[in-house]
């Protein structure tokens, strides 16, 4: 077991609420530098909430979140992006009234990323050549798959150290889902640490180096991706 040096993201014992409703109960997880970690669980289990807590969209009531040793408690969302964490929210949420290029440029909004914008855009076009073909098109006119690529491309433009992906395969045709997972693997191989939230459990677990299982706001399992695949409870609950 390696110790702390490359521990990038640490979420410890987090309790979080939506109003009076508790959504996370003592959730802990960690992501080490270079890893591709998957968080799986049924609808409403708290996967998205966990990502919201990490990215500052939701303040947590107790517990701790740190990134490369920096405490993220109460830090506003845009500061967290500056530190190098970028979330691709569910559905991508590209700015539909703007062109593909404008979306990508906005991805490089933080000052460090803005300086190297032109190189980063070439990198993004290499990963998603389709975006280069469509760069002057309005994001709202793209297909579902292209819009998801754009959302990931926009996130990469911020030169994230840690990329958070919320169900990037949601709503994609089965043939595109595998492509999407391949692209995520490519991005991870190029040095971007990834925390992936997925409902597509089998494909996600095959891809992941490590995985967490969350249910009803509580972590109920952790292990190597392959190991979890053979877990009886996971098999029966998610893989049928």
């Amino acid at each position: 077991m390696y110790i702390w040096e490359n521990r990038m993201l640490k979420v410890e014992n987090v309790n979080a609420y939506y109003g009076d409703l508790q959504a996370l109960w003592g959730v802990s997880l960690h992501v080490d530098e270079g890893e591709l970690v998957v968080l799986v669980g049924p609808n409403g289990a708290g996967k998205t909430t966990t990502l919201k807590v990490i990215t500052g969209l939701l303040n947590f009531a107790s517990g701790g979140v740190s990134f490369n040793g920096r405490d993220l408690d109460r830090m506003p969302a845009h500061k967290i992006v500056e530190l190098g964490i970028c979330l691709v929210p569910e559905g991508g949420r590209a700015f539909s009234g703007m062109s593909v290029l404008e979306n990508l440029e906005l991805g490089a909004f933080v000052s460090d990323a803005r300086k190297v914008k032109d190189q980063t855009i070439q990198w993004v076009y290499e990963i998603f050549p389709r975006l280069a073909e469509r760069k002057d098109q309005l994001a709202g006119t793209l297909s579902g798959g292209e819009r998801q690529m754009l959302a990931i491309g926009r996130a990469l433009m911020s030169k994230p150290k840690l990329l958070l992906l919320d169900e990037p395969s949601f709503g994609l045709a089965p043939i595109l889902v595998q492509q999407m997972f391949n692209m995520i693997e490519t991005i991870n191989r190029q040095g971007v640490t990834v925390l992936l939230v997925e409902q597509n459990v089998r494909a996600a677990l095959e891809l992941a180096q490590r995985a967490y299982v969350i249910e009803n706001g509580r972590m109920v399992g952790e292990g190597k991706g392959d190991d979890l695949l053979s877990f009886e409870s996971i098999r029966s609950a998610y893989l049928g």
Binding site: T55, G56, L57, P76, A77, H78, V81, E82, C86, L87, P89, R93, A94, F95, S96, G97, M98, E102, E105, L106, G107, F109, V110, A113, R114, R154, A155, M157, S158
Partner: protein
Amino acid sequence: MIEVAVQNLVFGILLGALYGLAAVGIALVFGVTKFLNVAHGELLMFGGYASFWLFSLFDLDPFLSLPLVIGFLLLIGVVLYQLLFVRMVKLSEEDKIKNTMLIGFGLTLVLQNIALLLWTADDRGVTTSYSGQAFTILGVRFPYVRVAGLVISLICLISLQFFLRRTYTGKAIRATVEDWEAASLVGIDVKKVYLLSFLLGTALAGVAGTLVMVSFSVEPAMGMHWTLKSLIVMVLGGVGNFVGTFVGGILLGVTESATAFFIPGGGNYRQVVGLVLFLLILIFKPQGLFGKKER
């Protein structure tokens, strides 16, 4: 007869440009922050009084005093925002609209009474060397002051469009209009964007106020009238498309003067026509003439 009709059309357009400018300000603030600042008309009034004072006390031409008026309005804007509106930022969209309306109505009363104290209830206007002068094309009069109003309104609109389309900060504003959460996820400081948009709105109110003052006059109770026109125009043009909003202003101006022209005694119905237009748009095209449908 045809000359009179064209003259009416021209005056409608010139007045409509001022409606448009006032409405672009309120629409910009609403589009970005979802603050419905019903005291926008009072801010406009303060812009008018500011340039009136600069003229009567220091003999400063109203068009030359525009930068000073803008500065004055920015100051008012910062104070109002930090004192009142900043507390609304974290509320849900619906609560923002409701609460800022209440704040706005309160402000309306306060600002009106300040104006009464400082400038009395009389109509205030200025007479410059070029007031009342006009050039004539084919028998149609174009008063200098009003034409300057149109030109300045257009300059404001074009600069705003340029700012929103070409600069990083402007794009951040557009991104926030579309989806503030996604905007914060690319590292945009949404609170800063809110403040900036609010200030842009107040500055535009100041410019509009100056133009109204030189073209007509100002008085303490004028604010509600201008807020109402701005809201009609905002709904007419559709939220989130400022060129559309401006065109909506011109449409309202033209409709009003057409009413006065075509309906006998129609001058009395000018106000009504705007409101009827407002209701028709809400019923048949709630996203506005140039607005996008909600997805």
